[in-house]
């Protein structure tokens, strides 16, 4: 931000992140979790909260929670427990949510985040727990004027993982960086698809200010309704400034929940009716406490993949990639794996990186793991294409056309090159005849060259390339031209 009234204040931010887990079935029943099905088609008595139903814990959800907890260096509880959180809202069929309270799945972890200025911030993780999502209200018209409201319970009971950070974040930029790093971890673990727009990753923030040098916390404000990284950063910037102005005007900060209004670029206080006060938590009597087998947890720990930050550092040290390349290539596990697979077959890392960044990511979004894994240009085929460039079979320019054809047809580079006759003309005798013709037909640049304008040779090279349909080996053409021109 340009004007920074916050300069005398230290910003204190903690995030609460809800991630929808990539399980096939819901947290406490067997209904599917797929997004976008017609309303109320993915429901059963359990996720509709009908009388007499009971929850059964989804083992896979626990596994994903434990994997995340381990990746975030948390202490995984040997025994945890679900609890009921009560408030009345019609999108919640039981009028309580099964969550975890006093005995969460894991506590006390951390995540290291690389900041834009090159420094590293270790952000503490206070707790990580599992819970169920609620349904969705659909109002006929706007909330204020609706004559009726409908409920879609498809999302009701979808597994959520809530992670609460410690208030270790010191600026809105850091908050965005933390959230990005956190999201990358979830994606690497195949725990969550990380889609903030569709709501599979949601973030609330607690923000307070305190005089620089103070250890005490100021009054915190909770910010909700931030649906993108940009929203998180903008909302926090606005809120920091709002609080700083208020404090400097001698006002007191009110502890409250505020909603980010992205259209107007402001946070506004929720009406007090909009948030509940006493959730009356108590242990869920329908579920026995969850005892996690330490051997199982150890198995999960051993099965953890290399995490994004470690991989980024390794791509720099092992392959000598610039940090920028490593950053781009590690945005998802699939992309990093693509890179490494291609380098195994064509061990020129920077070349492979250039091709991935400029060509592959031009046609495929780097954060779409499915598309990457299904790419018609497999890492092996990309390597094959680069080998044809290296051994002079095709030129770099032709290679880009071949790449596009590979995307369209799913064929390998050699098949396309041979069928289309794209092989470079490296036959000196043939090229020699073409060079002779070009020299004979273009007296002006030849004259210019002889007068010492060596740049005129470039025009002649271009003409030879044109005559060969771009397939001439530029090195050979250059050599032949130089020889022939110097003999004139």
């Amino acid at each position: 931000m340009s004007a920074r009234p916050a300069s005398g204040w230290e910003v204190v931010i903690g995030l609460e992140i809800h991630a929808q887990l990539l399980t096939r079935s819901k947290m406490f029943c067997g209904c599917p979790t797929a997004f976008g099905a017609p309303p109320n088609t993915q429901t059963c008595p359990v996720c509709l909260g009908m009388p007499g139903v009971l929850p059964v814990v989804n083992r896979r959800a626990v596994e994903l929670g434990v994997r995340t907890a381990l990746a975030l260096n948390c202490r995984v509880s040997e025994r945890c427990r679900f609890a009921r959180k009560h408030y009345y809202y019609p999108d919640m069929p039981k009028n309580f949510q099964i969550s975890q309270y006093e005995e969460p799945l894991a506590r006390d972890g951390w995540l290291e985040v690389d900041l834009p200025d090159g420094s590293v911030r270790r952000v503490g993780i206070e707790r990580l727990h599992l819970e169920e999502d609620v349904g969705k209200l659909v109002h006929e018209g706007t909330l204020e004027t609706a004559q009726a409201s409908l409920v879609d319970f498809n999302r009701s009971g979808v597994p959520l993982m809530e992670t609460v950070s410690r208030p270790d974040i010191r600026s809105p930029e850091e908050a965005a960086a933390f959230l990005k790093a956190f999201r990358a971890v979830l994606i690497y673990l195949d725990v969550c698809d990380g889609n903030m727009e569709e709501g599979s990753l949601r973030c609330d923030a607690n923000v307070s200010l305190r005089p620089r040098g103070s250890d005490a916390f100021g009054t915190k404000v909770e910010i909700k309704n931030m649906n993108s990284f940009r929203s998180v950063q903008r909302a926090l910037e606005f809120e920091v400034e709002r609080q700083a102005r208020a404090l400097e005007a001698g006002e007191r900060i009110v502890q409250e929940t505020r909603l980010w209004d992205a259209d107007r670029g402001v946070t506004r206080a929720m009406r007090s009716k909009e948030y509940a006060h006493d959730y009356r938590y108590f242990p869920e009597p329908d579920l026995t406490p969850l005892a996690l087998d330490p051997a199982w947890v150890e198995d999960l720990r051993r099965g953890l993949p290399e995490l994004p930050r470690a991989r980024r550092q390794r791509l720099v040290s092992q392959y000598g990639l610039p940090p920028y390349d490593a950053d781009v290539l590690t945005q998802t596990r699939a992309l990093a794996e693509y890179f490494e697979a291609a380098v195994r077959e064509f061990p020129q890392a920077k070349t492979v990186s250039n091709w991935i960044m400029s060509e592959l990511l031009r046609v495929l979004p780097g954060d779409d793991e499915g598309a990457l894994r299904a790419s018609p240009v497999t890492p092996g085929r990309l390597a094959g294409l680069l080998r044809l460039v290296e051994d002079g079979t095709i030129s770099g320019k032709i290679a880009k056309d071949v790449f596009d054809r590979m995307v369209r047809t799913g064929e390998d580079a050699r098949t396309i090159v041979e069928r289309e006759g794209l092989t470079q003309v490296a036959d000196t005798a043939a090229l020699s005849r073409i060079v002779d013709e070009v020299i004979a037909q273009n007296p002006r640049p030849v004259e210019d060259y002889r007068k010492g304008k060596t740049v005129a040779a470039r025009a002649l090279v271009g003409l030879v390339m044109k005559a060969t349909g771009g397939k001439a080996n530029p090195g050979i053409v250059n050599r032949l031209l130089e020889e022939k021109l110097s003999k004139l």
């Binding site: 009908m50 009388p51 009560h86 009345y88 069929p93 309580f96 329908d286 579920l287």
Partner: protein
């Protein structure tokens, strides 16, 4: 003359089917006729499932004709307390708020009985949401004690107990949260068994207090109770609190005598306030067991006096949560005319719940509130642990605890207006639920006015075989079960 099926026990009835003395259809018709003739005076049923019953009975006829009955319950006409979900059959819980609710699924207990070939005659009356000890809190009708229509049948499974006693069902299922099977069994002169918590799946049992509720049989004799328990017991993947403990043949231990069994008589169960007729009958029963060879000793369960207080914190706490889902949004009653959702739920709950249910919701909401949770709920949980330990200590010395089921004989309709005096009626049954133990009430005599009295036998967790064995030995030696009320 043909056998009168309605006078037979379950095991006598299926023996008659096997002999061809009577068919399941004849039995079902006889029961339906008797219900049509007598239930206006008893009030045991809320719904009679005539068509279902006849269809199921016809299918059973066929199996007996082929000599391939499915189980010892095949073709047996039974009744279910209206708190157990039945697919396509109204399940009201005795409440206006569920008056028109028809579940789309069967409770596991119902499904298992149906698999065994049992024939559902209908759904029985109960205190609203199983909250009460007299069935007077049913929103629909009172149930009359078959031994004296001016008196209550007990509750909350009063309809099931009265139906079995009056010959309106061969056997029935009830539920027991603080005595709701055993107390009406005692009041109606039938056998009632509350199994160990976790022995029978609660899936489809509309929850009152989840950590205490358990489904069990009401039957004319101990063998029938054993047969029903065998059919419904066992681990259910839909109930995480159901225990994976093998289900023995509960009839196998019947017929063994009680020699060598050690019986503990808790002095706290004969405290002041016990009806002298009840004490006399129970002491005589204990003497009879001693004569049969059991070793009897006095024991102490010092926390007995706290049972009622603990129960009236924990059960309402869980109830306030379990009953939050009845908000007019999804099923059951919705009071029209509200301007918004909050008003809709408020009006629906105000009109749909009776006074006792509202009292317990308020109690439960209060004890879970911030600032009171530890003092009430937290402390009650600790005392619950002490109650459990009392029994653990007792069971280190004895095999069974024997005691009265209730401190009194059936009281008159309207006699107990003060909720507290009603609550104290359950002082001898509640500790068993708090400790999660199996217990049976078996008839042990009559007051001079001809009102039934029950003997309670309490066992170790999952030791239903010993409970049934002693109850059966006593029953066979004394013959009280042969007495039936005369209604015709």
């Amino acid at each position: 003359m043909k056998t009168d099926a309605t006078r037979l026990t379950v095991h006598e009835l299926t023996a008659a089917y096997a002999r061809g003395a009577v068919t399941p259809t004849e039995a079902a018709e006889a029961y339906l006729e008797r219900i049509a003739k007598l239930d206006g005076r008893v009030g045991a049923y809320l719904t009679v499932t005539r068509d279902h019953a006849l269809a199921a009975a016809r299918a059973a006829d066929e199996r007996y004709r082929r000599g391939t009955p499915r189980s010892p319950l095949d073709g047996v006409p039974i009744a279910l307390k209206d708190v157990l979900s039945t697919r396509g059959v109204p399940t009201t819980c005795g409440s206006r708020i569920l008056e028109r609710y028809v579940p789309p699924f069967d409770a596991t207990a119902m499904a298992r009985l149906a698999d065994a070939g049992a024939v559902l005659l209908g759904k029985t009356n109960m205190d609203e949401f199983a909250m009460g000890s007299s069935t007077e809190h049913s929103a629909f009708r009172p149930t009359h004690n078959p031994w004296d229509p001016g008196r209550v049948p007990g509750g909350s499974s009063g309809g099931s107990a009265a139906a079995v006693a009056a010959g309106l069902a061969a056997a029935a299922l009830g539920t027991d949260t603080g005595g709701s099977i055993r107390q009406p069994a005692a009041f109606c002169g039938v056998v009632g068994l509350k199994p160990t918590y976790g022995r029978v799946s609660r899936y489809g049992l509309v929850a009152f207090a989840s950590s205490l509720d358990q489904i069990g049989p009401l039957a004319r004799d101990v063998r029938d109770a054993a047969l029903l328990l065998g059919a419904i017991a066992g681990r259910d993947p839909l109930d995480a609190t159901s225990v994976d403990e093998p289900v023995p043949d509960y009839t196998a231990a019947l017929g063994r005598d009680v020699r060598g069994l050690r019986l503990g008589v808790p002095r706290e169960y004969f405290a002041e306030g016990i009806d002298p007729d009840v004490e006399r009958a129970v002491r005589r029963a204990i003497a009879a067991l001693a004569e049969l060879g059991a070793a009897v000793e006095e024991i102490s369960l010092p926390t007995t006096e706290y049972g009622v207080a603990v129960y009236y914190i924990l059960a309402p706490a869980e109830a306030s949560s379990n009953l939050a889902r009845y908000d007019g949004v999804k099923y059951g009653l919705r009071v029209p005319g509200a301007r918004d959702l909050i008003e809709m739920s408020g009006r629906t709950r105000a009109a749909g719940f009776g006074a006792e249910v509202k009292r317990r919701i308020m109690l439960g909401t209060y004890v879970l509130s911030a600032g009171y949770y530890e003092a009430y709920y937290g402390r009650a949980q600790k005392v619950r642990t002490l109650v459990r330990r009392d029994f653990e200590r007792a069971f280190a010395r004895v095999d069974l605890v024997v005691a009265p089921t209730t401190p009194n004989v059936p009281f008159a309709h309207g006699e107990k207006q003060d909720p507290l005096s009603m609550y104290l009626n359950d002082a001898y049954t509640i500790p068993v639920n708090l400790a999660g133990l199996p217990a049976i009430s078996v008839p042990c005599g009559f007051s001079p006015a001809g009102l039934p009295i029950g003997l309670q036998l309490i066992g170790r967790p999952f030791d239903e075989p010993t409970v049934l064995r002693a109850a059966h030995a006593y029953e066979q030696a004394t013959g009280w079960v042969a007495r039936r009320p005369e209604l015709a």
